[in-house]
């Protein structure tokens, strides 16, 4: 399980935890997020611009 980070605002998506508020269940892999996923906090960085940490 990996964690991905938005380099603009620091939002992190942890696959283990998912994102309850956004409706991504724990264990949802980052790759399974919608193709048009953008950072839920800043909307500046798109999915492919997130970095794995």
């Amino acid at each position: 399980m990996s964690t991905y980070r938005c380099q603009e605002c620091g939002y992190t998506y942890c696959e283990e935890q998912g994102d309850d508020h956004e409706g991504y269940r724990p264990g949802t892999p980052f790759s399974a997020l919608p193709e048009d996923f953008t950072c839920p906090d800043c909307a500046v960085r798109r999915k492919e611009e997130f970095e794995e940490i």
Partner: protein, 397 residues
């Protein structure tokens, strides 16, 4: 005055004092304007005083912007983390939330209990609506932050102008699509503000609703549920406006209608001037380039920035949406509005004047350089604009 000390990468120590620290109180006090009119009306008996905030907003503010000019200074980057952590600045944004409620309730009480002429009654409703439009600005500053408290306060204050969908629409929709033809909240070259409003107001609501519906669907919740963040804010609006209707009777129907429309018109005016004609280009994969400072019109005018929590430093805001108002920066070569927002709104409301001033500014921006392919153009004006400004990039000096 409180200062911040930090060391630069070369070891040199710097000390910074924010000269605007206490001047930001103007953003807190500005929404109390209806009370100035009410107080002067009460003490002189002249209803005309109720309209004084119109003169403050659209005569005094543009004149002060002109007289005081611009401030292009930025806080040193090394002290920004301290500036952001300083609770004083965020306290001001909390403090203004109840004042927005006070302003609407106080003005409704005055309108509902005095025998006002029809024009003074509607004028007070309009003035109060304009001030509640500033509540969208307060909700904007709060809603961009990560803390639960600030996000909750954003939803609460957005209930005053009945714009509960703004938080989702703006953060998840407008910021993602800004300065593209897909964005209902980015104005296109050749599009006048009245046509823009007809596209922006319903378009923004639909996008917010769809965004929230998708989120709730992922959470296996129905759209019509107490988890719907738009409905949470709208429920407060309903309680507030119904409460005023019960307290002050049927005159509240026209009062609140005028109030709400004027509040929304404030946001429409801001959205209109903030991205007029600007366009993010697509890369080889058909994806829009990342939002840069030159994708928003900026203004460094001192006075109107001080009453709007630095909203007019809009270029930095869109490139870095979580930056707090006290830390927003100016950059070189930004698209620059001719005045602060209040003066720019006056221009926007007179479309021919607006096009005359802004189209030239737009085409002479360094990243556009007369190339209409780099401009977000209204589809129905495309032929006329190409005929007028030529198909080939023109050299500008």
């Amino acid at each position: 005055m409180k200062g911040y000390t930090a060391s630069l990468p070369n070891g040199e120590a710097i000390h910074y004092v924010d000269k605007k620290r206490y001047l930001w109180l103007l953003s807190v006090l500005y929404p109390l304007q209806p009370f100035i009119g009410i107080w002067l009306h009460a003490s002189t008996g002249h209803e005309g005083w109720l309209l004084l905030p119109l003169a403050i907003g659209y005569v005094v503010s543009p004149l002060l912007d002109w007289a005081l000019g611009e401030d292009t200074n930025n806080p040193p980057e090394a002290v920004v983390p301290q500036l952001d952590r300083d609770p004083y600045y965020r306290m001001l944004t909390y403090l203004v939330v109840p004042l927005h409620f006070a302003s609407l309730i106080g003005a409704a009480w005055w309108a509902g209990t005095q025998s006002l002429s029809w024009w003074a009654f509607l004028g007070l409703a309009a003035v109060t609506g304009i001030v509640s439009g500033l509540g969208i600005n307060t909700g904007h500053e709060l809603g961009h932050k990560k803390s639960k408290l600030e996000r909750t306060l954003a939803k609460i204050v957005l209930a005053v102008p009945v714009y509960g969908h703004f938080w989702i629409e703006h953060n998840r929709g407008h910021h993602r699509d800004v300065s593209t033809p897909e964005d209902p909240a980015s104005a296109r070259m050749g599009e006048n503000i009245y046509n823009f409003a007809r596209r922006e107001i319903p378009g923004a609501f639909k996008r917010a609703w769809a965004t929230e519906a998708e989120r709730l669907l992922r959470r296996d919740k129905p759209v019509w549920s107490s988890d719907n963040q738009i409905l949470q804010s709208m429920a407060i609006s309903l309680a507030l406006q119904l409460g005023l209707l019960i307290s002050f009777g049927w005159p509240m129907i026209p009062f609140l209608l005028v109030h709400n429309v004027f509040a929304w018109w404030q946001l429409t005016s801001a959205n209109y001037v903030e991205h007029y004609g600007l366009l993010r280009l697509k890369d080889a994969n058909g994806r829009y380039e990342r939002c840069q400072p030159h994708h928003s019109w900026n203004s460094n005018h001192v006075f109107s920035n001080l009453v709007l929590f630095h909203l007019e430093r809009h270029s930095d805001h869109h490139a870095h949406p979580l930056r707090r108002y006290q830390s927003l920066r100016n950059f070189d070569d930004l698209p620059t509005l001719p005045s602060g927002y209040f003066g720019s709104y006056l221009l926007a409301w007179a479309p021919l004047l607006w096009f005359r001033v802004m189209d030239k500014r737009l085409l002479s921006l360094p990243h556009v350089a007369g190339d209409l392919a780099k401009v977000n153009i209204a589809p129905d004006k495309r032929d006329a604009i190409y005929a007028r400004y030529g198909r080939r990039p023109v050299t500008t000096t």
